[in-house]
């Protein structure tokens, strides 16, 4: 484990309920800024950590609306910018332009979602010790804490059933 992250305790769990307990215990002890690694998204853990729903969905909404507006604006403006009649149809035929607007809604919506994902993940990035096993089959908890309090945390984690607890300088 390279440095570049605050020192603290890293614990690995085999079992989801154990990890959840540990999280509760940590929260009870007033720890907030710990990091939980899971190989898969897990409701139990998420609940234990207790995040609010991600704001990414707002991005999707705004992106979609923007796309829709852009779609109609683009088509209509371009039609009237140089009016050419085809098949006796109105220069600005809204109905066919719905298709364009729809596609842009999707396109912008998806784009915005990705941006949102990247943006928020970046803003809430957690620097901490990490171990490869956490993407395989183990749950990891990293608690950054100053040296003097480590023994207590170490004890807590061990007791909650960690298969391994490691002090990270």
């Amino acid at each position: 484990m390279s440095a570049g992250h605050p020192g603290g305790i890293l614990a690995a769990y085999q079992h989801v309920d154990a990890a959840a307990r540990a999280i509760h215990a940590l929260k009870a002890k007033g720890y907030r800024d710990f990091t939980v690694y899971t190989p898969v998204p897990n409701a139990e853990i998420a609940q234990a950590v207790g995040h609010k729903v991600s704001p990414v969905r707002l991005w999707t909404l705004l992106g979609g609306l923007l796309g829709c507006a852009a779609g109609f604006a683009l088509t209509l403006w371009m039609s009237y910018d140089w009016p050419l009649v085809v098949g006796g149809k109105p220069v600005g035929s809204v109905i066919p332009y719905v298709v364009i607007a729809f596609e842009l809604t999707i396109l912008f919506g998806a784009g915005a979602t990705i941006l949102g994902l990247v943006f928020h993940s970046w803003r809430t990035r957690q620097l901490g010790a990490y171990d490869g096993r956490f993407t395989d089959d183990q749950i990891g908890i990293f608690v950054p804490c100053p040296v003097e309090r480590r023994p207590s945390v170490e004890e807590l984690l061990r007791h909650s059933g960690a298969v391994e607890v490691r002090v990270e300088m």
Partner: protein
């Protein structure tokens, strides 16, 4: 005037390609459509001397005369920067009155033909041709002439009624040689013989189709090649085209329904060769029933007629008695005209047919009314095939020392047995003045290419009283020299009597002398210059020839029982008919004509055998099966075409193909049907175009190069017709499929509201205000299917020809096509053929437009379907969505020299119209009502500060239409002609139920049937 065009660039020694770049640059360019404009790289070459009345970018028009066939129509040549880019009919010419046929339109491709003889050539010891200087060439002629006695000098010319003919005659006379043999394959010997026999004159009268309300043709294809087709077509459409409630009637009598026959209201297919009997029987009825006042000299034929009561001839002709009697009555009911002697009907007994028809006309009192002697047609000036035969015999047994050939190609256009080429080998020295490497020229010892008619000074007398002038409308394309000049130079060098007789320095002088004499003869006492200039401006001088009355001659008594043609047992009668496009074959080196779909079969680039579908079914023959047609004199092979317009015991093949020389476009295409025609000279001195034939299926097969998909309209009412009777009873339409279901009232209103709302949102920018709506009206009762419009369109719009291979794949590029649909012809109903010119319909609600992603197809403010070639990306969606299928796509690059589809080999690209973009590979193109002409006229009007006049803008197709079936103009202008015509009771829109709101309105064909006789 003429010096105008040859003034510039004199001696500038520029090669042609350079010359073209000048034109391209100066003229704004018919350059290929390429992506970018880019750096200036082209050279601009100025004129040294400003050519008179030529302004760069403005076309100059010169009057001249078309020499593609002996009809001698007047033409106007459109010259841009010193090159001819279009020929159109000369409105002042009494012959064609401004119209032109496909062959006339294609004369440009004769001028710019890449296979012209590019300079004097001599055959060397090895039998190969090598260039020679004009002086040497002429020197050789002189020495040869000095080497032989006059009687050994012979001259063969084409039909050259006029000064050149006179020159040749004088020239020969001065040498003490026999008169020239004037060889025209279509010499109408039968007509002349019959004239001699019946009226005592071998002149050909003028037939006035315009005055005849009832036309009866015994195999005369008077809308195709016969005598003066354009003039006749115009007259015919005047009398036969439906106008305010009435029209003429036309009955066609021939075993095969020719293109002309397709315009008939009734087609009678008698036993081959029995037409004479029919005519005589009709005369019999007329005389015996005293249907008309009896002529004083009818007694001369009384005996003959008595022998031909309808009952006697009924079964020999295969025409029932009542039909004959009906025809007879109809014939005298109105001013009528019977014609005969078409090449396609020229069997051994053709002279009898012609004579019988003369008698019929005479009895009915048509002579002097619709048949007028006096204004005789020039083809009479020709010699007969018999004369050619005797010449060939003379050549064979060394009777000819020096042979000159000009404007004739007997080595191809004569029965193969004649073997003119072979005979040439026996001639000491033969000189050809051919413009092309034709079959005769390649056997000559010396080839001295003549100028193209558009490059030369000359005149022509299509008929008595009409003196048509030719002037050089541009400087010669190649190192050619006018034959007249050559003869005169020779005369000077030979000297002696010849030199003394022919003193004119140049042929132009000689011509002017002749016209000086003409001026005196015409009692015109103005200064010659005035007379001459005026003649040049108008294209000649026209006078009415005095009418000559004729009576039945004694010799008519000799008119004897025609021996009916009899086809061999279970064999066929082969009819070799003239090709409307290629004529006798002289058109075969013009790609436009090769690719012009035959009006009857829609075949291109080939020869075919027409077989009746039922006969074919019996023999297990399908379209495209290669058949072997054998006659007593030979065999030809050609693919089968199943044609219901034939008697079952008849086969038909077009003349004109099967060239063994004559350039890249003609060589090795199809078969030469002359190979199976007998060399026996008929009684009237011509060739019989009938032959007893047997049929064999070779088992081979090919996809025929035809432009047609289906020949029946599947009840879709594309080409609609109505009978005169129905019209008179107030029924205008014919029931056909695809009628839209009636819409409820309130829905109707709703739709209208929506429609208006939509229209309101189209009135932006240029679309606002009152704009014209360019439109075309097509009168199907006038269209004969002659296809002149198709070639005119090719010429005007730089449309490339693609060749047979691509035609087979439906990739021909024509913007206008003549659709030919058959009706009936099965289980006993009479066969009917309909022609429908199909070009872009310029829809008001065009399906092609909205689907184009880049606005390359769109609606112009003046109601055209614009097609912007340089914007086109080539998705071809527009064509998929076009119900009329009038859009053509550039599959290949027709301008690129090393492309297999290269269509403009130097100097053929000279005929490109600088006002029209040449389309590039991968681009969709189509008819735009000659938008370049519309804009041109609009500019003119704007400069002159005046309004456009109705009828001022002529589309190329309309301009050339011999039968005046097309009317173009502004539909939004209630006073315009097109507006009125489009509201005719017969008008309809093709596939109108699709609500495409076309700008092209069709007027139903009217068939004069079922009307109780007046």
């Amino acid at each position: 005037m003429a010096n105008g065009s040859d003034g510039e660039l004199n001696g500038s020694g520029m090669n042609r390609r350079r010359f073209l770049t000048v034109l391209g640059a100066a003229g704004g360019g018919a350059a290929a459509l390429s992506g970018c404009s880019g750096e200036a790289t082209d050279k601009l070459i100025p004129y040294l001397v400003p050519p008179d009345n030529q302004i760069p970018g403005i076309a100059t028009w010169y009057a001249s005369t078309c020499r593609e066939c002996p009809a001698g129509c007047g033409v106007h040549a459109r010259v841009r920067e010193g090159r001819v880019v279009k020929v159109e009919g000369n409105p002042e010419s009494p012959v064609n009155q401004g119209r032109l046929c496909a062959r006339g339109q294609a004369s440009l491709q004769g001028l710019y033909n890449p296979d012209r003889v590019r300079g004097p050539m001599v055959k060397n010891a090895g039998g190969a041709f090598e260039p020679i200087s004009w002086d040497d060439a002429i020197a050789r002629i002189t020495e040869r002439l000095e080497g032989v006695t006059g009687d050994l000098i012979r001259f063969v010319t084409g039909n050259e009624a006029g000064t050149f003919d006179r020159l040749v005659t004088e020239w020969l006379a001065a040498l003490g040689s026999p008169a020239p043999v004037v060889y025209e394959p279509f010499g109408y010997e039968a007509l002349r013989f019959a004239g001699q026999q019946v009226f005592g004159t071998d002149r050909l009268p003028r037939y006035d189709f315009g005055a005849a309300r009832y036309v009866l043709s015994f195999g005369a294809d008077f809308l195709e090649t016969w005598l003066s087709p354009v003039e006749q077509a115009r007259g015919f459409s005047e009398s036969h085209g439906f106008r305010d409630g009435s029209m003429g009637r036309y009955v066609h009598v021939e075993p095969r329904m020719s293109m002309t026959g397709m315009s008939a209201d009734e087609w009678i297919a008698p036993r081959p060769g029995s037409e004479a009997l029919l005519a005589l029987a009709m005369a019999h009825v007329i005389v015996n029933e005293r249907l008309v006042p009896r002529q004083s000299d009818t007694f001369r034929v009384q005996q003959l007629l008595d022998a031909h009561a309808p009952a006697d001839v009924a079964d020999r002709t295969g025409v029932p008695v009542e039909t004959i009697e009906r025809l007879a009555r109809e014939f005298v009911a109105e001013p009528s005209l019977a014609v005969a002697g078409g090449v396609g009907a020229q069997h051994e007994q053709a002279h009898v047919t012609a004579a019988a028809v003369n008698v019929l006309n005479y009895i009915a009192g048509n002579v002097g009314r619709t048949v007028s002697y006096g204004a005789d047609l020039n083809p009479a000036g020709s010699s007969s095939y018999a004369d050619l035969g005797s010449l060939v015999r003379a050549m064979r047994n060394g009777g000819v020392g020096v042979l000159f050939i000009h404007g004739a190609n007997p080595a191809h256009a004569a029965p193969a047995g004649t073997d003119f080429a072979g005979a040439m080998a026996q001639v000491g020295f033969s000189v050809s003045f051919a413009r092309f490497w034709d079959e005769t020229a390649v056997h000559a010892d010396l080839v001295l290419p003549d100028h193209d008619p558009l490059e030369q000074w000359n005149d022509f007398e299509p008929r008595a009283g009409v003196y048509a002038l030719q002037q050089p409308v541009m400087r010669p394309v190649f190192d050619t020299r006018q034959t007249g000049d050559v003869l005169l130079t020779v005369a000077q060098q030979v000297g002696g009597r010849l030199g003394a007789r022919l003193t004119a320095a140049t042929y132009k002088d000689y011509l002017q002398q002749a016209w000086g004499r003409l001026q005196r003869r015409l009692r015109d006492f103005r200064p010659f210059e005035t007379f001459w200039t005026e003649a040049l401006q108008h294209g000649g001088v026209w006078r009415d020839a005095p009418v000559r009355t004729v009576r039945l001659a004694r010799s008519v008594a000799e008119l004897q029982e025609p021996a009916t043609w009899s086809a061999p047992q279970d064999g066929f009668t082969l009819i070799a008919y003239p090709s409307p496009a290629l004529y006798d074959g002289r058109g075969a080196n013009r790609p436009w004509l090769q690719e012009l779909p035959d009006p009857v079969t829609k075949m291109t680039w080939s020869t075919w055998v027409e077989v009746h579908p039922e006969t074919a079914a019996e023999q297990g023959i399908h379209e495209g099966d290669i058949l072997e047609v054998t006659t007593p004199v030979g065999t030809v092979e050609a693919p089968a075409y199943l044609y219901p317009g034939l008697r079952r015991d008849v086969l038909a093949m077009p003349l004109g193909q099967g060239h063994t020389a004559f350039g890249r476009y003609a060589e090795g295409r199809g078969a030469n049907v002359y190979a199976v025609l007998s060399t026996d000279v008929t009684e009237f001195g011509g060739v019989s175009h009938y032959a007893a034939a047997s049929l064999r299926h070779t088992g081979r097969h090919e996809y025929v190069a035809k432009t047609e998909g289906k020949s029946r309209q599947m009840g879709r009412g594309i080409a609609q017709a109505v009978t005169l009777a129905a019209l008179q009873h107030g029924e205008h339409g014919e029931p056909h499929g695809g009628h839209a279901a009636p819409v409820p009232e309130h829905i109707e209103e709703l739709l209208d509201e929506v429609q208006e709302a939509q229209d309101a949102d189209t009135k932006h920018g240029d679309y606002a205000g009152d704009v014209p709506r360019w439109a075309l009206a097509v009168d199907l009762s006038k269209c004969t299917g002659c296809s002149a419009c198709v070639t005119a369109c090719h010429s005007e719009n730089n449309i490339p020809t693609v060749g047979p291979e691509l035609v087979r794949r439906g990739r021909e590029m024509a913007w206008i096509r003549i659709e030919r649909y058959f009706e009936g012809g099965e289980h006993g109903e009479p066969l009917e053929a309909r022609h429908l010119p199909m070009m872009c319909q310029q829809c008001g609600r065009a399906p092609c437009e909205p689907v184009c992603p880049v606005y390359a197809a769109y609606q112009t403010p003046d109601g055209l379907n614009g097609q912007i070639y340089n914007r086109c990306v080539g998705t071809r969606y527009c064509s998929n969505n076009c119900p009329y299928k009038v859009r053509v796509f550039n599959w290949f690059d027709h301008q690129e020299e090393n492309d297999p589809a290269f269509a403009f080999p130097d100097p053929l690209h000279w005929l490109l119209n600088p006002d029209v973009t040449v389309r590039a590979k991968g681009v969709m193109e189509k008819c735009t009502f000659c938008v370049q002409r519309i804009r041109g006229k609009q500019n003119e009007a704007m400069l002159a500060g005046r309004e456009l006049q109705d009828g001022e803008i002529l589309t190329a197709c309309q301009q050339t239409c011999p039968s005046d079936a097309l009317v173009f103009g502004d539909l939004n202008d209630p006073t315009s002609r097109v507006h009125q015509v489009s509201r005719d009771e017969r008008s309809y829109h093709v596939l109108g139920d699709l609500n495409t709101q076309p700008g092209v309105t069709y007027l139903r064909k009217v068939r004069n049937v079922g009307v109780e006789e007046a």
